[in-house]
């Protein structure tokens, strides 16, 4: 027979709670630690350049001139391109998998789309360099002359550049947006949909209702994709051309924050150069933390797995 827990048992239990709790706290500490470490290690650059660091367009380590605008620009531009392509595709996938797919196809298709997220960045990179870049180059050669007058299409046909980076990024973020959006659509109460059908809605009209109901979560899903795109390093480094310039052209080789760190970190010959790179890392960290944090809160506010509190309650009128 089981006996009542003894005093030792309770002491062990307290130890269990404290022990596992301490390690859980460690997870929080790591995040804080990254922030602290990056700030401390970039202090020289923060102090010397201040906000001007982010307005300067000249990146010339040899003469000690560090302007990070081209990297911010490249990071944002490539991520926006990626999201413009990836969002509709990912939402389409989420809708298909949660609402339309025949039952037998649902699991294998989910598995396959999530496989896209499992492929390592370096594999996308090598594929991008040897397969996608030549295709983009061909595309650039075939671009009709009148189009080349627009700032969006200027520049020599190199292959590497903003377009290649945006395309690779789009493929890489689709699975993230799709899987979160699917979870969120699943969390929409069934009676919402049933009500729509009962009123004579077509399938799309019912889906639109569900999308509207889950809009906060969908925005969260897209932001999660944005966070991924901003921080993606290796694949982008390999195809974007690594040229610090601010240009609207999709064909121009440009640079991103993550890529400049990856390329130049081991070459940073003096402390100021290194600190400038770390500062870029710090800003990248801050941006992704804010974006991921926001997107998590948005997603949690809608999804079933909301921690600590359940936000999703059927509206009183419907529950009655």
């Amino acid at each position: 027979m089981a006996s009542r827990p003894s005093r030792t048992d309770f002491r062990v239990d307290l130890g269990f709670r404290l022990g596992t709790g301490a390690l859980a706290a460690l997870v929080c500490l790591i995040v804080v630690g990254i922030g602290v470490v990056l700030t401390r290690e970039s202090w020289l650059s923060i102090e010397k350049f201040g906000l001007g660091f982010w307005r300067g367009t000249t990146w010339d380590p040899v003469s000690g001139e560090f302007g990070a605008l081209p990297f911010i620009w490249g990071t944002l531009y490539s991520s926006v391109i990626a999201l413009l392509i990836a969002t509709p595709v990912a939402l389409g996938i989420a809708i298909f998998l949660s609402e339309l797919s025949p039952h037998a196809l649902k699991q294998p298709l989910t598995f396959l789309t999530e496989l896209l997220a499992a492929i390592p960045s370096i594999v996308y990179g090598i594929w991008g360099v040897f397969v996608l870049v030549p295709v983009v180059r061909r595309l650039q050669v075939l671009t009709p002359d009148f189009l080349k007058k627009f700032p969006l299409f200027t520049g020599p046909p190199l292959g590497v550049g903003m377009l290649a980076a945006g395309l690779v990024l789009a493929v890489m973020v689709v699975p993230f947006i799709a899987s979160v959006a699917r979870e969120i659509l699943k969390a929409v109460p069934v009676n919402q949909r049933e009500a729509a059908y009962a009123l004579g809605a077509t399938r799309w009209e019912a889906i639109r209702m569900a999308l509207y109901y889950a809009r906060t979560g969908i925005i969260g899903a897209v932001m999660l994709g944005l966070g991924r795109a901003l921080g993606e390093t290796i694949a982008v480094t390999m195809v974007i051309g690594n040229n610090p310039q601010v240009s609207w052209s999709l064909f121009a080789p440009q640079y991103t924050m993550a890529a400049v760190i990856a390329n130049e970190f081991t070459e940073a010959a003096n402390k100021l150069y290194l600190d400038a790179l770390v500062e870029i890392g710090l800003v990248l960290f801050t941006i992704t933390i804010v974006i991921n944090g926001l997107s998590r809160l948005l997603i949690w506010s809608v999804s079933e797995r909301a921690p600590a509190r359940k936000v999703l309650k059927p509206e009183p009128a419907l529950a009655a």
Binding site: F10, V12, G33, I34, P120, V131, F265, G281
Partner: protein, 287 residues
């Protein structure tokens, strides 16, 4: 039909159909790049795979042949280091999250894990550089393993928490009803029930971080020679692929593709394995 179909209804139905087709198209649009990536990697990589690739060292430039034996061993060593500290931290945190799901710390840890999961790998690399390279003034396998471990923790926490949630509450309630304390219930009843899933979770997390390049670039660096010393720079499969892919040599490109094939094979293997185990667990625990 009791009511007539006006042209407006027809249009609504048409729009609905079109959207449905577009959604199916989106699935195809995502599967095409997947197929293309797999196809090109296998087509270029499989012919370059041979025994030498797994057993011999990189040859100097210009000499054909050679392999990535040192890089594969390096990757395995760093995975071991990463697992050594990420597994205890990740599993224990997940146990805490599932035992005390509503505490404030749980909320914070869950949030931190999600945020950490989204921190760019290159930033984790800088962190590891400052913590594990600067103080010792040398790039090392330990620093690389540390970087990978930091990336592994959030994956493990979330995966394990989900797997623990699959264990039916009746098991825990039964243990508690028999007089077990929470700690004892977690240790003797819940963890064993979730063990196959947790092991799979660890393997999947390992497969995921095995494909990371960015955090290794300036922690483990690279090494052209055979090295298993933890305090020395060490080669890794991913950094080797990265270096080779950017070189101008045809033979190195072939080797890079071969390396990519090995990575993809590992990822596929572990993904399929994880899916099978998770589904079996679900079937086991759900009526």
């Amino acid at each position: 039909m009791a009511f007539s179909v006006t042209s407006r209804d027809g249009r609504r139905r048409l729009v609905s159909r079109l959207v449905e087709v577009a959604c199916a198209g989106a699935v195809v649009a995502a599967l095409v790049p997947l197929a293309l990536v797999l196809w090109y990697v296998l087509r270029n990589g499989v012919p370059a795979l041979n025994r030498a690739f797994f057993t011999s060292m990189p040859k100097p430039v210009g000499e054909p042949g050679g392999g990535m034996a040192n890089a594969m061993v390096g990757t395995l060593i760093m995975l071991g280091i990463a697992a050594a500290f990420a597994v205890p931290v990740g599993i224990a945190s997940a146990v805490y999250l599932s035992e005390y799901p509503k505490s404030r710390l749980s909320w914070a840890a869950r949030f931190a894990a999600d945020v950490l999961n989204g921190v760019p790998s290159i930033v984790v690399g800088i962190f590891a550089y400052v913590v594990a390279v600067l103080p010792f003034n040398r790039f090392s396998a330990l620093a690389g393993g540390f970087a990978l471990g930091v990336m592994m923790i959030p994956i493990l926490v979330r995966a394990t928490e989900e797997l623990l949630a699959l264990v039916p509450p009746s098991l825990r309630e039964g243990a508690l009803a028999l007089g077990a304390t929470r700690g004892r219930a977690a240790w003797t009843v819940i963890l064993p029930a979730a063990l196959p899933g947790i092991v799979t979770g660890i393997l999947v997390a390992l497969a995921r971080i095995a494909g990371e390049t960015a955090p290794l670039l300036f922690t483990a660096l690279n090494n052209r020679y055979w090295s298993t010393k933890l305090t020395q720079p060490i080669a890794s499969l991913t950094v080797q692929i990265y270096t080779y892919a950017q070189s101008p040599y045809e033979d190195w490109h072939r080797q890079a593709w071969a390396g990519a094939t090995v990575l993809i094979a590992a990822v596929l293997l572990f993904s399929v394995l994880a899916r099978t185990v998770t589904r079996r667990l679900e079937r086991m625990h759900r009526p």
